[in-house]
């Protein structure tokens, strides 16, 4: 799986960011619109796109989008 595609998939779940404004090192929990609903959307996106069951605890552990990417990759 590709980091860039993952970033695009991640960005698609956000409503209020300009395309291309998040990157691998974005600390996603600092985004204004990050909340429990966004977290559920990421879990659902990862399930749909990568067939990986991401947990709430794993999202808590990750800081950047790349961290999250690596977690998903390790569970593939």
């Amino acid at each position: 799986m590709e980091l860039n595609t993952f970033i695009q998939n991640f960005e698609k779940q956000l409503e209020d960011v300009a395309p291309g404004s998040v990157g691998a090192d974005t600390v996603f929990k600092d985004l204004d619109e990050w909340d429990s609903m966004t977290a559920l959307s990421m879990i659902a996106m990862v399930d749909e796109e990568y067939s990986v069951k991401l947990t709430g605890n794993e999202i808590k552990q990750a800081q950047t989008i790349e961290d999250l990417f690596n977690i998903v990759k390790s569970k593939k």
Binding site: M37, L40, S41, I43, A44, M45, E48, T55, N57, K60
Partner: protein, 246 residues
């Protein structure tokens, strides 16, 4: 002291969580049980924890499979009570729902419970003056993000129970549901949950008495199944440690 001696009681979803602890408590109170669950090993673990060994029956049944439901109906002897606990949750936000996800949750949480009830009634496996208990959920009355289909399935189950209470009143069969808030079980508290442990801890602070335990639910279910609650039918008790007071 509640006494369920001589009562033949079916418990679905007995392989874990609320169903498991209900089964254990009912066995301590003297009931003869038929326990069912999907998972062979976990159902046997529950069976091994029951009091009065040798008097119970464990039947592997996938509530998603109509043939399993039919086989279960055939196996049970006339019941004095049944507790419908089988349930699954899916935390998909609405925009991620699919027909498959909707059907899966509705099938286990609602359709299968209805079909099992239907089969038991048709085959006259439910004795007069018995008691049926359906485990619904407080989420059916709230608006928790990610629980749309789960909440809908439980709202459907509560509504079903109320109608059934009317249909079975002439036979003095009591039908009740209960709607617990968050109870600590593998389903709500598991390591694979979509909700992080930190968020759960934070959420629990909204409960004046904290989250519930499976035994809190089991105690009330035992009461509903006993002869101590002969005037209670058609109820849907909210049990939430004070969560909805605010």
């Amino acid at each position: 002291m509640l006494d369920l001696q001589g009562k033949n009681i079916l418990v679905t979803g007995a392989s874990s969580g609320i169903g498991k602890d209900i089964a254990i408590l009912l066995s301590k109170l003297g009931a003869r049980l038929i326990i069912t669950g999907r998972d062979h090993d976990r159902l046997n673990q529950t069976a091994a924890l029951l009091d009065n060994q040798g008097t119970h029956l464990a039947v592997i049944a996938d509530m998603d499979a109509e043939t399993d439901i039919k086989a279960l109906v055939e196996k049970v002897e006339k019941l004095d009570g049944a507790v419908f606990c089988a349930g699954i949750i899916d935390y998909s936000p609405v925009k991620f729902l699919s027909k498959e996800k909707i059907n899966k949750v509705l099938s286990v949480n609602f359709v299968s419970q209805v079909l099992l009830t239907q089969g038991l009634l048709k085959e006259k496996k439910i004795a007069k003056q018995s008691s049926l208990v359906y485990i619904s959920s407080l989420s059916s009355k709230l608006g928790v993000a990610g629980t749309a289909v789960y909440a809908a399935s439980k709202a459907a189950l509560s509504a079903f129970a109320k109608v059934l209470a009317t249909e079975l009143a002439a036979q003095k069969i009591r039908v009740n549901s209960l709607s617990p808030g968050i109870v600590k079980t593998p389903m709500t508290d598991g390591a694979d949950s979509a909700i992080s442990s930190d968020d759960m801890k934070e959420d629990e602070k909204k409960y004046p008495f904290g989250y519930g335990s499976t035994i809190d639910v089991a105690n009330y279910v035992a009461f509903l199944l006993s002869d101590n609650s002969p005037w209670i039918t058609g109820s849907d008790l909210v049990m939430d440690g004070g969560f909805t007071l605010n």
